[in-house]
Amino acid sequence: MTEPIIRAQAVEKFYLQPDGNRIEVIAPVDLDIEPGKIIALLGPSGCGKSTLLRILTGLSKPSSGEVLWHGQPITSQNAGVAIVFQSFALFPWLTVIDNVEAPLEARGVPALERHKRALRILDTVGLDGFESAYPKELSGGMKQRVGFARALVVEPEVLFMDEPFSALDVLTAENLRNELLELWHSKKMPTSAIFIVTHNIEEAILLADRVIVLGRNPARIRADFSVELPQPRDRKSPRFVELVDYVYKIMTQPDLAVPVPEAQAAAQKPARQKYQMLPHARVGGIAGLLELLQDRGGKEDLYRLAEDLIMDAEDLLPIVEASVLLGFATLKEGDVEITPDGVRFAEADILSRKTLFRQASLTHVMILQQIDSILHAKTDHSISEEFFYDILDEHFSQDEVERQFETAMNWGRYAEIFDFDRESHRLVLAEPVSEPHPPTTPVQP
């Protein structure tokens, strides 16, 4: 077996809380990047895959474990890596060629050679003629080409890409992917491995020789498999569809009980019981999904659903997960099926939906139960949002806390469990107004 270029050993990321608890973002991960391969790291959004990429490039340090570059500890100075960013991260005040030359300037390459190398690489990525343009004059696809050129000009051994195509429209992304594959297979790239982070299942299976699927909360490797389909790959081929389905299954499988890692030090507190994590879906999305399922006879394949809706797994999965959490649907082997509760919800009118949603969320959603019981217990029936931030803080990272709270607010207000006063930042018990109203006469024009 070939020697890996980058080797991550038991790399782990966690944040220590003031009370001694730790929030684990990445569970210990072992990962090798070998030469000659395109590796895709696949996972739902917010699962920590970008963090992992930054650890592998030496940009950020793991909390424990280590990353080796050809056997030596990695630093941002010794690693022969480059990154293509999702937001392009070009310098808007520099022309295209100045952007590409900037990394060479940092390495002290003389002016003439800098210019020659930059021109050559711009030619390779199909940007000749655009040297003196400013990034803002270019389309998204062209901008990302500049991003590629800037990365390739330093002749990185490993080219890292962080969601490089997700800020582009579908056609541009497809085109750029094909060009990347062509450059790679014709060996026009001075690069011996590519590591791409993506949430797009098809993209991963289209591009990669090896796919690593990451699970969430904390990030851990759920699957790691080779894709031995010949290039160019056909999305309609049975094997391709099979692989996409397989990944869907992994990503939607109820989390298996992962054994708590051995305590590393005696002083460490035992890991706390997992708090229920809300999938970030809006009520409107859940209702839409249930109505669609109902129309289709109550059961549908996830992959087909995503394709028909032209939605990423990224966008669809939280809605499905939320429906499952609320008891409106079940998931089995990559199929979603509506439950009797779900059918009732899909068929109800606006006001009864609120009642049904309220019942469902008070039965299944932990944080809403907590809020409801606290608001009823307090004499003034109100409580500061801080209280819930404090609860969530113990279980989630800062960004995730914000999103959890946002989602809980969205659900709770819809269910009329409480009202949220933005100015005082307090939750207030909602007045029971969802009594059925008498039918109103149409408003006179």
């Binding site: 999702q86 310098f91 808007p92 005040w93 990394p103 940092a106 003389p110 803002k136 330093v154």
Partner: protein
């Protein structure tokens, strides 16, 4: 290869002449500054003296500005990258920004004159120092905020491509901060004129300049000189706008952090002129580019060297600790001294300060209310009527660009002729400084009210007071608050110089903390001066915290029009 003489174009000749003029000016002013201190500066009122005075005033502003820029960058840099320092430096900035700088005018002038006895330099530096403290804080904050807002991926790109600190500074940090710095510089320099005029007129420490020219003209009731002085003032400001700010704004456009090109970019004829100049192109090719190349290589090699030795950070850490301790010790000493001085004051003096503060507080707020009363209807009328706005806005801008302090002697002259006292007269003086801030913000707010809201209001038949209540006042509220905050700061500052005057050999004054501070300076009562200054600063900072900050937050949350 030099361009052939015949190829020298008009732009080049103009540039060359400008260079010569600058050189001459520096020599002349240097001679004046190093000259002996003249307790009574004779201010000539001849027309030929005006350009020289304008030059002196400009130079003071330029000097203070360069100092401010350097300080702002250093301060912002440290605050942005050292979390420990940040926790102290940002709240400090906040306080410093709201202290009325002019209250330090007497103290600083006395101190600087004492530091450099017998030299004009001391008084000059005092003026520069005051202008500096008046303009530096918002610039520092702007630079800090820009550094903090650099996107994470851009920083990561810099790290992964091994940018050294020089490259980071030049290619990321400075470009990112440019637009904020330019706008804040303009604001700062506009404010600097206000402070400079006050400094130049300040009792025993007058400085030759436009401010003292106007004062002397008013002192002698010389209407022609007054008009000439004000005209010069306006010309200087307009010329600065055309020759300096417009080109800089047009140039800074390329640092706008935008992903798509905006349709209407600011332009400047001076910038086009410079871009067309061969001399500038030659300079870039022969001097700027080689220098840049040298720097690139220098820092690239330095970077490699640093990778090999990473132990220096320990020494740097100790240096920071020592510096921090020294700063804390100095602050501690100052606090102890101040407490000692304050405890030495008599009860009657405290009483006097309290009365003064109350009077000035009322006067400042009266001027705000008066200002708001006329500017809100006027501003809304202008903002709702594009044709009126096209005429009124430039006029108002010119009127506002004349620093209120420059007009003080003139207004005072009129007030005295009318027979009014300074008690009410000083409110008029304050109004001069405050009303423009409110007016501009109200106009901007009225323009910002979306058309569909206005249409909705008329569809639902909102008229008269109801329309004001439901549409206009909530719509302009955030802008009005911003205007009032700025105006309140300006009014407190102006109160120091508006309550106490030497005029035609007489002293005019009214009850107020500003008058108290000025009188204490004249009487050389330093303890009272210090106590008055601190009390004033404390009141201003407290009102900021208790009133303005809250209103601002309300404006930001509830009355913000979001798309």
């Amino acid at each position: 290869m030099l361009p052939r003489p015949s190829a020298a174009s008009l732009p080049d000749l103009v540039m060359f002449a400008a260079g010569l003029a600058l050189f001459y000016g520096i020599v002349e002013i240097g001679r004046n500054w190093l000259g002996p201190y003249r307790p009574q500066v004779e201010i000539s009122r001849s027309l030929s003296a005006l350009p020289v005075y304008a030059g002196y005033s400009l130079l003071r502003i330029a000097f203070a500005y360069v100092l401010s820029l350097i300080f702002a960058i250093v301060y912002g840099y440290i605050a942005a990258y050292r979390p420990r320092a940040e926790r102290l430096m940002i709240p400090l900035l906040d306080v410093l920004q709201s202290i009325p700088v002019l209250s330090f005018l007497p103290g600083v002038m006395l101190a600087m004159a004492a530091l450099f006895p017998g030299r004009q330099l001391g008084v000059e530096l005092g003026a520069v120092l005051l202008i500096f403290t008046g303009q530096v804080w918002n610039m520092a904050f702007s630079f800090y905020a820009s550094l903090k807002s650099i996107p994470r991926e851009m920083r990561e790109a810099a790290t992964i491509y091994r940018f050294n600190w020089w490259q980071r500074f030049l290619q990321i940090e400075l470009p990112f901060a440019t637009i904020g710095l330019v706008w804040n510089s303009m604001m700062s320099v506009a404010g600097a004129w206000f402070f400079l005029m006050a400094c130049e007129q300040f009792s025993d420490f007058r400085l030759p300049g436009l401010g003292s020219y106007l004062q002397s003209a008013a002192d002698n009731g010389d209407t022609r000189s007054i008009l000439l002085g004000i005209a010069t003032m306006i010309i200087v400001i307009v010329v600065m706008d055309q020759l300096l700010w417009r080109p800089v704004i047009a140039w800074a456009e390329k640092f706008k952090f935008e992903q798509v090109e905006s349709s209407s970019a600011p332009t400047s004829w001076v910038l086009d002129f410079l871009r067309g100049s061969r001399g500038v192109a030659y300079l870039r090719k022969r001097a700027v580019r080689p220098l840049r190349e040298q720097l690139i290589h220098f820092f690239a090699h330095q970077n490699e060297a640093r990778v090999q030795s990473e132990s220096e950070s320990a020494a740097a850490l100790w240096l920071w600790r020592v510096l921090g301790m020294a700063a804390l010790a100095a602050i501690g000493y100052a606090v102890v001294r101040v407490v000692m001085i304050l405890t030495g004051l008599s009860r009657s003096e405290f009483h006097e300060i309290g009365i003064g503060l109350g009077a000035t507080f009322l006067r400042v707020n009266a001027s705000l209310v008066l200002g708001a009363l006329w500017t809100i209807p006027a501003g809304v009328a202008i903002g709702f009527n594009p044709r009126l706005a096209r005429i009124a806005q430039p006029l108002a801008q010119i009127a506002a660009s004349v620093p209120a302090t420059a007009l003080f002697p003139v207004v005072l002259l009129i007030l005295i002729r009318l027979g009014g006292g300074l008690g009410l007269g000083s409110i008029v003086l304050l109004l001069l400084g405050t009303q423009w801030y409110i007016l501009f913000n109200v106009i901007a707010g009225a323009i910002a009210i979306p058309t569909d809201l206005k249409e909705a209001a008329s569809v639902f038949g909102l008229r008269g007071w109801e329309r004001w209540q439901k549409l206009i006042l909530p719509g302009i509220f955030p802008f009005l608050v911003t205007g009032l905050i700025t105006a309140s700061g300006g009014a407190w500052n102006a109160s120091i110089v508006a309550e106490y005057f030497h005029f035609k050999g007489q002293t005019y004054s009214t009850t107020g903390v500003g008058a108290l501070i000025s009188a204490a300076t004249d009487a050389k009562n330093f303890d009272l001066l210090l106590a008055g200054t601190i009390a004033l600063a404390a009141v201003v900072v407290t009102t900021n915290r208790l009133l303005w900050r809250r209103l601002y937050r309300l404006a930001e949350t509830r009355f913000k029009l979001e798309s």
